[in-house]
Each structure stands twice: as structure tokens, then as C-alpha cells.
């Protein structure tokens, strides 16, 4: 029996399925969200349970500047993707670079905050439960920012080499989903660590 015989002769409406990239990325985001949920639960569970200092309210300051940078990078990556969709490769490169710069500023600010906490305040992973949960949760997020920045840098290199074409718009958009997710997670981390937990 040949499988050709299964073929339906009549012309039917076009067979459209969801995009692989989007479904795959949404699945990955669901998995990442579950990982972050567990870390957030652990953070909230241990708020105020440290047996020794320092406490969050003594050492944490609101990272307003870096938060603004990271959240606005969601807008710039959106503009980059839209530019690529409209075949404006130059504008794409510009917005893509701005996204990279904003993400890098966020990472540098996190580094400065950690440096201050470790060397001025003496807070490390092993100091107390606050230290353990704080560095784990913020570090997990910073790790995701680092992964995102690595991929953005890769895109930037391709853009500089002139290899980015309008047909790559779908890929850029799929990646931007990840970046939006990283930003959304920061909203949760910010609320939990700097607002509720402080």
C-alpha cells in the first residue's frame, strides 16, 4: 500500500500550523518560569528567618537605574525586531546594539551591588539565609541576562558582518520572547526581593 493513496484529491483550505520557534520558545519559557517559581517560593519562605544579620533592610537599596535600563531594553528589542520585519537592517543594528548596552548596564550594576554587599557589608552566600536566597535568586536572573546578552552579542556580530537579512526577522522575534521573559522575571524578583522582602 502506498502512502500516496491516502492523499485527498480535493483542494482544501490551506493547512496552517503554529510557528515552531514560538511554540518551542514558549515551552522553554514555561520550564524557566517553573524554575524561577521554586526559587521565588524559597525566597519568600525564608524572608525574616535568618538567624543572624545583615537583614535585607540594612543593606539593600532599590536598584532603580538598572531596573529602568533592563525594562526599557524590552522596548528597544521590540523596535529592533520591528525594524528587521520592515527590512530596515540599519535600524535593526542600532536598536539591537542599544538593547545590548542596556542589558550590559544592568549586569554591571548588579556586579557593583554585589561588590558592595560582599566587601562593604560582608554578606555572602554562606552568611545567613538572606544571603543564600538573595544571591541564588538574583544570581539565577543575572545568569539568564548573561545568556541573553551572549546571544544578543552574537546577533550583533552577525549584524556588523552584514549577515542579518530581513528573513531572519522570525528568529529575532523568537529570541525577543526570551528577552521579554527575562525582563518580566525581573519585575517579580524586584517585587519580591526589594519591595516585599525588605
Amino acid at each position: 500500500m502506498s502512502s500516496a493513496a491516502i492523499t485527498r484529491p480535493s483542494a482544501e483550505p490551506k493547512w496552517v500550523l503554529p510557528s515552531r520557534g514560538r511554540v518551542g520558545m514558549f515551552s522553554l519559557i514555561a520550564a524557566e518560569a517553573a524554575i524561577f517559581t521554586i526559587f521565588v517560593v524559597a525566597y519568600i519562605f525564608y524572608v525574616g528567618k535568618s538567624l543572624s544579620g545583615p537583614a535585607p533592610k540594612d543593606v539593600l537599596e532599590l536598584p532603580i537605574f538598572s531596573t529602568v535600563c533592563l525594562l526599557s531594553s524590552s522596548l528597544t528589542i521590540h523596535l529592533a525586531v520591528r525594524a528587521l520585519r520592515n527590512a530596515k537592517v540599519g535600524a535593526f543594528g542600532l536598536w539591537w546594539f542599544v538593547t545590548f548596552a542596556l542589558g550590559a548596564i544592568f549586569l554591571v550594576e548588579t556586579g557593583r551591588e554585589w561588590h558592595h554587599l560582599i566587601f562593604d557589608q560582608g554578606l555572602t552566600v554562606s552568611t545567613n539565609l538572606f544571603g543564600t536566597t538573595y544571591y541564588s535568586l538574583v544570581g539565577l536572573h543575572a545568569f539568564h541576562v548573561t545568556v541573553g546578552l551572549t546571544l544578543i552579542a552574537l546577533g550583533l556580530i552577525f549584524a556588523l558582518l552584514g549577515k542579518v537579512k530581513p528573513e531572519h526577522g522570525e528568529r529575532a522575534e523568537v529570541f525577543s520572547l526570551y528577552w521579554h521573559f527575562v525582563d518580566a522575571v525581573w519585575v517579580v524578583v524586584f517585587t519580591v526581593v526589594y519591595v516585599i522582602g525588605r
Binding site: 493513496a5 491516502i6 514555561a30 554562606s126 545567613n128
Partner: protein
């Protein structure tokens, strides 16, 4: 272009040196080869995990036995549990999924073939890491060996003070690495099923195997991730001096239990949902009837998927939760029995009035139906918290979950092996040997796990390496161990049957079972491109439509 590749393939076959062919298997991204690699990998670990079980059963055959030391016994039950769940059951089920999903939904490969290969090799290296602990677990400290903390590794056993050396770290790393592999596979399953279906195959016309693997994929994503998070926390505790599970610094050992079981209970359903998928494909074909209640089967499985995330703390009734917690988890545990019961009724409804063909795949599925029912009933017993307070951590629990995993899941895995072996190898297995396998394994299974309930009720705790004579446990332990030898004999018949038939079996043809799903429309084994022409389907049973043009399914349903 398609015809070019066909010609190339025909020329390629046969004459190439063995080194080249092995190289093909290592670098392959073909879903069929990766599926077979997954399955073979799982079978190797099945033997290893089986040997560990055998060592434990020999140790427990008589009181005050000195076959192994208590330390070795602890390592054996830890490695047996971890191996069987993560490196036997999951790879074999993923292997069948990887092999069958593209064939059943009429596409030529998974959505992300390279991710597919990456996931397999992660799983493979995870298993190697775990077993490397036998060699490298002592680390620099000269203490510890293979992990001995139990498969759920409760704190504070995993703290550095109680698990010196690196054995626990190999356990953590092995599960982390293979967990990433599982998440990759789940992403691939979901994307393939949603985005790669052949024209005409709407969600309502997918084979149940594809539906159930879609649901399983979603559960893997939501359940394995918490384990990944918890293992990361454990590593932070052990290597960076963190305090997540360190009670002396205010940390909570109970939090680990919650995190582990929020993974651990859905995990049971991650394993059993693909097993349901096998039964849902095999029972209709050997009853010569379409599946009874297709939409209800899908709905019930979705229900199981959701409820399975709200039952985890029934593993923790004896930890000491509030009465509200106990009540909630008792009620949800009772609730999950409802969709499971619906599925059992539907399989029986499929068989009812059918022309049953009692071939090996069907025999194993019937065994599964009865045994899974009993496993579910003891599950309801244990789900009632007052009953659980009495029997938690006894051999009754061990008997219960082996009834689920061996009596339910392993039986359908054997059914799947016999059902799809002709497709994968192109040859028929020996029905006589398969019947020997079935009856030997059935007798062995019931000797072992029926009688294992009794010492549990008589008070025998799990994980003890020996026991005093005169408590009434001796005869039951003897029977349990004897049953194991029947099971081993059955598995030897199985292994010999597969090996022998793969080389000497009669050619199977494309469709030895007169079945109805798309994988049977291709050659056995399928060519690398699966389908010369991508099929178009109009009903849930495309091959029925093809074979019965005068009475096709699409005239009636949907």
C-alpha cells in the same frame, strides 16, 4: 529531489564498514535512530537496576543475612530507585515517543532534530555521571562511594556533614544533566506535535499516543524544572556554603521534601501517561474496535495532568502537616482516581464486544489493566491520611508503587516492545517466546509484589538491610525473592527473543497487525525520510479509510 535521496539511500545500504555505521549512530539526528538509542540505553540500565534489586532481595531472603553490608545495601536501594526512574523508565518512554510521534503524525522528523540528539546525549551523560560515583565517589576525602541517601535524598542526609565525599554530588549532577535533557525532549515533543502534523490531522484526529505525549511533555516541563531548581539549591548548599536545607542556620528540611515531591508525584504520571498511550494504541487494534470515548480519554488525561500537581504532599503525611494540609491532599488524591478510573472504563469499553486477539502486546495490556487497577486501589488506601500514618515507609508502600511502576508501566512497555518491534526491526518476534515471557513475568510479578504488601502490614519498614527472625516476616520475604527469579527468567526470554528475532525473525511487512495509524503505512523499518510523500488524513484512523474505501471513518465521526 526526493527521488534523488531515495536512490542515494539504496546505494548506501549494506556495504559500508562497521566503523562508519557506528559513526552514523553517534552523530545521527534522525528521530528513529535516536529513539532506538534511547531504548537501548534504557535497556542497559534496566539490567543494571535489576542487578541492584537482585542484590537487595538476596540480602533479605532470610533474617540476619550477611550477603552485603548495610552500607552497600543503602547504596543499592538509592541507585536502584534513581536508575529505574531516571535512566530506565524515562529513556525508554522518551525513546518510543521520539521514534513514534513523527511517524504517527505524518512528518519526517522532530521539530528540532539537533536538540533531539543533544537531549539524548545529555541523558546518556547524566547516567554515566551517576555511575561514575562508583569509581570517583570517594573523591579526595576517602569517604562515601555510590550515593546512599535514598532516591528522594531527604535533608539533612545530603548535608556535607552526613554525606562527605562526592557521592551525593554525582547524584545531584547526574539528575541535573539528565533533567536538562528531559526538558529539551519535552520542548521537542510539544513543538513537534503542535507544529508538524500532516495536513488534515487536526488535534481531534491525532492518535491518542500523540495526545498523551503532548500532555506528558507539558508535565515534564512543569515538574522536572522544580527538581532542577531544588538540585541547584542543594549544590549551592554543598559547594557554596548555602543554608537552604540547613536546619542549624534556620533552613528547612521540610522545604526539600516539598520541592522534591512537587517533582516526584507528577513524575509518576509523567511515566504512566505514555504507558496509557501505549495501551490506548494497542488495545483497540487487538480488540478490532476503535478506541471507546476518544474525547473523554483526552479530557481525563488533561485532568490527570492538572490534578497531579496538587497531590504531592500525600508523600508527607507522616512529616506532620496541619489538619487542613492533610485533608486537602487526601481529597486531591481521591480526586485523581476519578479520571484514572474513567480511562480504565474506556479501555474495558474498547475491549467489550470486540474480537480479542490475545497476542503478546494485548496480553501485557490486559495484565496492565488488572494490575494498574489494584495499584490504584492501594493508592487510595495510602492516600487516606490516617491509613498512611500507619503504613507510610513500610513495605506496603514499596509494594504499592512497584505495582504501579512494574505492574502498570513496565507491562505496557513490554506490550509496546512487542507491538512496535516489527516496525522498528522489520522482523516478527517469536510469539511462543513472548508468551513464555508474559506468563513467567506475570507469575514472578505477582509472587513478588502481591506478597510484599503483607510484611508491610505486619510492620516491616522499607530500607532495612536485615531483620530479626520471629516477627512473621520470613516466609513473605522468601516468596518475594523467589518471585524475582521468575521475573528474571521472563526478562531473559524477552531479551533473547528480541536479539534472535532482530536477526532471524520472519520479515514483518509494513503492517503486520492490520492497524490504523500512520506509522504502519511506511516500510518496516522506515526509510530515513519516513514518508516518500507526506500523507493527508481525514479521520483518526487513516489506514482504515485506506483499506475500507467503501466505509471510511470520516463519513461518520468528527
Amino acid at each position: 529531489m526526493a527521488s534523488d535521496s531515495i536512490a542515494l539511500n539504496l546505494v548506501d545500504h549494506g556495504a559500508r564498514p562497521i566503523g562508519d555505521r557506528l559513526h552514523d549512530w553517534i552523530v545521527t539526528v534522525d528521530h528513529k535512530k535516536l529513539g532506538i538509542l534511547y531504548i537501548l540505553y534504557g535497556l542497559i540500565f534496566l539490567v543494571i537496576g535489576g542487578i541492584e534489586a537482585l542484590i537487595m532481595r538476596i540480602q533479605l531472603i532470610v533474617p540476619h543475612n550477611h550477603f552485603v553490608s548495610p552500607e552497600v545495601f543503602n547504596r543499592m536501594f538509592t541507585m536502584h530507585g534513581t536508575t529505574m526512574i531516571f535512566f530506565v523508565a524515562m529513556p525508554i518512554l522518551f525513546g518510543f515517543g521520539t521514534y513514534l510521534i513523527p511517524l504517527m503524525i505524518g512528518t519526517r522528523d522532530m521539530a528540532f532534530p539537533r536538540l533531539n540528539a543533544f537531549s539524548f546525549w545529555l541523558t546518556a551523560f547524566g547516567g554515566l555521571l551517576l555511575y561514575y560515583s562508583f569509581i570517583g565517589g570517594s573523591g579526595l576525602y576517602g569517604a562515601g562511594e555510590a550515593p546512599d541517601v535514598g532516591w528522594f535524598a531527604y535533608a539533612p542526609l545530603t548535608a556535607r556533614a552526613f554525606s562527605p565525599g562526592h557521592s551525593t554530588d554525582f547524584w545531584t549532577l547526574g539528575l541535573l544533566v539528565s533533567g536538562f535533557g528531559s526538558i529539551g525532549t519535552a520542548v521537542n515533543f510539544i513543538t513537534t506535535i503542535l507544529c508538524m502534523r500532516c495536513p488534515g490531522m487536526t488535534l481531534g484526529k491525532m492518535p491518542l499516543l500523540a495526545w498523551l505525549n503532548l500532555i506528558m511533555g507539558g508535565m515534564v516541563i512543569l515538574a522536572i524544572s522544580p527538581l532542577t531548581a531544588a538540585q541547584t539549591m542543594l549544590s549551592i548548599d554543598r559547594y557554596l556554603g548555602g543554608h537552604f536545607f540547613d536546619a542549624q542556620a534556620g533552613g528547612s528540611a521540610v522545604l526539600w521534601m516539598h520541592f522534591f515531591w512537587i517533582f516526584g508525584h507528577p513524575e509518576v504520571y509523567i511515566l504512566v501517561v505514555p504507558a496509557f498511550a501505549f495501551a490506548s494504541e494497542i488495545i483497540p487494534v487487538f480488540s478490532r474496535k476503535p478506541i471507546f470515548g476518544y474525547p473523554v480519554m483526552v479530557g481525563a488525561t488533561v485532568g490527570i495532568g492538572f490534578i497531579s500537581f496538587s497531590v504531592w504532599a500525600h508523600h508527607m503525611f507522616t512529616v506532620g502537616m496541619s489538619s487542613y494540609g492533610n485533608t486537602f491532599f487526601t481529597v486531591t488524591t481521591m480526586a485523581i482516581a476519578v479520571p484514572t478510573g474513567i480511562k480504565i472504563f474506556n479501555w474495558v469499553g474498547t475491549m467489550w464486544g470486540g474480537k480479542l486477539q490475545l497476542k503478546a502486546p494485548m496480553l501485557f495490556c490486559i495484565g496492565f489493566l488488572f494490575q494498574f487497577l489494584i495499584a490504584g486501589l492501594t493508592g487510595i488506601m495510602l492516600g487516606a491520611s490516617p491509613f498512611d500514618w500507619q503504613l507510610s515507609n513500610s513495605y506496603f508502600v514499596v509494594a504499592h508503587f512497584h505495582y504501579v511502576i512494574v505492574g502498570g508501566i513496565l507491562f505496557t512497555i513490554f506490550a509496546a516492545f512487542y507491538y512496535w518491534f516489527p516496525k522498528m526491526s522489520g522482523r516478527m518476534y517469536s510469539e511462543t517466546l513472548a508468551k513464555w515471557h508474559f506468563w513467567l513475568f506475570l507469575i514472578g510479578f505477582h509472587l513478588t509484589f502481591d506478597f510484599m504488601h503483607i510484611p508491610g502490614m505486619l510492620g516491616m519498614p522499607r530500607r532495612i538491610y536485615t531483620y530479626e527472625p520471629g516477627r512473621g516476616w520470613e516466609i513473605w520475604n522468601l516468596i518475594v525473592t523467589i518471585g524475582m527469579f521468575f521475573q528474571i527468567a521472563g526478562v531473559i526470554a524477552f531479551a533473547f527473543n528480541l536479539l534472535w528475532s532482530a536477526f532471524k525473525g520472519a520479515p514483518a511487512g509494513n503492517d503486520p497487525w492490520d492497524a490504523w495509524t500512520l506509522e504502519w503505512s511506511t516500510t518496516s523499518p522506515p526509510q530515513e525520510y519516513d514518508f516518500a510523500k507526506v500523507p493527508v488524513v481525514r479521520s483518526r484512523r487513516p489506514l482504515w479509510d485506506l483499506k475500507h474505501p467503501e466505509d471510511p471513518d470520516w463519513k461518520y465521526d468528527q
